[in-house]
């Protein structure tokens, strides 16, 4: 596997200062270690992909960055500030500079699309109604759903709900956008829309983006940097092309989605024949 040191050498190269720095983070959930010495950096103005098999704690990483949970040890810096001493008001101030796109959109079901997008504006500012309307309509236009402003969340398809959630996430003009599995369960057209939007948010608005996903092919088309997380630490890092050309068989297996490779098909179990013939075991 590519070592973490060489990984950082590749990603420290050209652009921007560090927006997120995760250093030697350890985190357990219910006694099961999720991260054991995780190190990674996200640079300003770039799209960083966090990849890994299901259950490797990709979503947990986002929960750590947004400080929904605290690491057992290690340091997480966001916008140059260590999160460890942060109190509730500081965490809230930090979150106002970032947006998180949930896997299912997480729209508020008791209000329509327009009100959902207007929600953060109404909560955090005293802008007059015409200005709120303008803000909301421009963001809805950006995700192509201005015509759906009066629909309720229950009337939206999965892809539309995610785009509304994206409009809501960008309505306060965040510097950092976190995407939690944005491609799961989308039809090819919706998937294309979301890909285009992520790229657009990054290029046109200059928003630093972190995309957590296991959809390697989709990510490869938009990511500037990528990290492959496995067994609680960074297994490989670099551009998607570098990962695909990795000399580690496990990394290559993940990147190409092959059934053959060092990652076994079978969950660890006792000897097959012994179990079949044994009467006392299930």
């Amino acid at each position: 596997m590519t070592s973490t040191t060489s990984a950082q050498a590749t990603s420290t190269a050209p652009t921007g200062d560090v927006v997120i720095a995760v250093r030697d983070v350890h985190y357990d959930a219910g006694g099961r270690p999720i991260f054991a010495g995780l190190d990674l950096e996200v640079r300003r103005g770039r799209i960083t992909a966090i990849m890994g098999p299901s259950g490797t704690g990709k979503t947990t990483l986002l929960r750590l960055i947004t400080r929904q949970v605290a690491p057992a040890s290690g340091q997480i810096e966001v916008f140059g500030a260590d999160l460890a001493p942060f109190g509730r008001s500081e965490i809230y101030a930090l979150r106002r500079r970032m947006g998180l796109l949930f896997q299912n959109g997480a729209l508020l079901t008791d209000m329509d699309v327009f009100e959902n997008v207007a929600f953060p504006v109404r909560e955090h500012t005293d802008l007059p109604e015409p200005l709120v309307r303008l803000l909301v309509l421009t963001k809805l236009q950006a995700v192509g759903l201005r015509g759906a402003a009066n629909l309720m969340p229950g009337e939206l398809s999965g892809g539309m709900a995610r785009r509304v959630a994206l409009a809501r996430a960008i309505v306060m003009d965040p510097e950092l956008l976190l995407y939690d599995e944005p491609f799961v369960g989308l039809d090819p057209i919706s998937l294309g829309f979301i890909l285009r939007l992520i790229k657009h948010m990054n290029q046109a608005l200059g928003i630093t983006s972190v995309v957590v996903s296991h959809d390697v092919q989709e990510l490869a088309t938009i990511a500037d940097d990528s990290y492959l997380i496995s067994e609680g630490r960074v297994a490989a890092a670099g551009t998607p092309a570098q990962l695909r050309a990795s000399d580690s068989a496990a990394v290559r297996q993940f990147m190409t989605g092959s059934a053959e490779g060092p990652v076994p098909f079978h969950y660890p179990a006792s000897d097959y024949a012994t179990q079949l013939l044994g009467a006392d075991e299930r």
Binding site: Q68, R96, L100, T109, F119, E123
Partner: protein, 254 residues
Amino acid sequence: MNGAWQGSYLLGGLRRLGAVTIFLVKLLTQCVPALGRPRLLVLQIYNAGARSLIIIMMAGLFVGMVLGLQGYDLLRRFGSEEALGTAAALGLLRELAPVITALLFAGRAGTALASEIGLMRATDQLTAMEIMAVDPLRYVAAPRFLGGVIALPLLTAVFSVIGLYGAQLVGVQMMGVDRGVFWSQMQSSVGLHDVNEGLVKSLGFGVACSLIAVYEGYHAEPTAEGVGLATTRTVVASSVITLLIDYVLTAAFL
């Protein structure tokens, strides 16, 4: 072995009581800002109160009618049917209206609250608010809690009025108790403290039932089973606590 089991059960109960108390304190600190948002509050009073009106009015009518029937039968044995107005009024105002309204409220509005908040938890809506730097305790929990606390005494008042009408309907219209005696006896022997007893009780029940519903919903496991469990626990806990508080407050008022 048995002792250890009881000990852990007791400890679990105490821990839960502590958690609910801490939640109540947090909730109360968020109630002041919630009061400054009348639109949200009115919506929740409507949800918890106005939407429970039909069931409360129907229950009030039938309970009043039963009271009229039973009261008449009982008082006739002592030859004092004219006391029916007093008996019905005292029974309703002090006891039946607050308790039955609270029990119905727990079943109708409490479960709706718990499952609504639980589903918001299960569909990440509460987390989304947290991420948008909006405290869900302030935006979701506090208005619903306050809505319940305000709605329950109002519903109790409606229950009492309809109940008295029901008692009058049976006692006076059907059984033939004198209309003048029915009302004048009630007027002379029912004091403000009787009304207050019912009011204080319904406020206490309102706090307890709304708190339990909001707490259970807010802490529901984010699964279908978890939300169902939270709803069930809301009804069970609200009913038991209502009857417990009822005894304590009755003893305090006597």
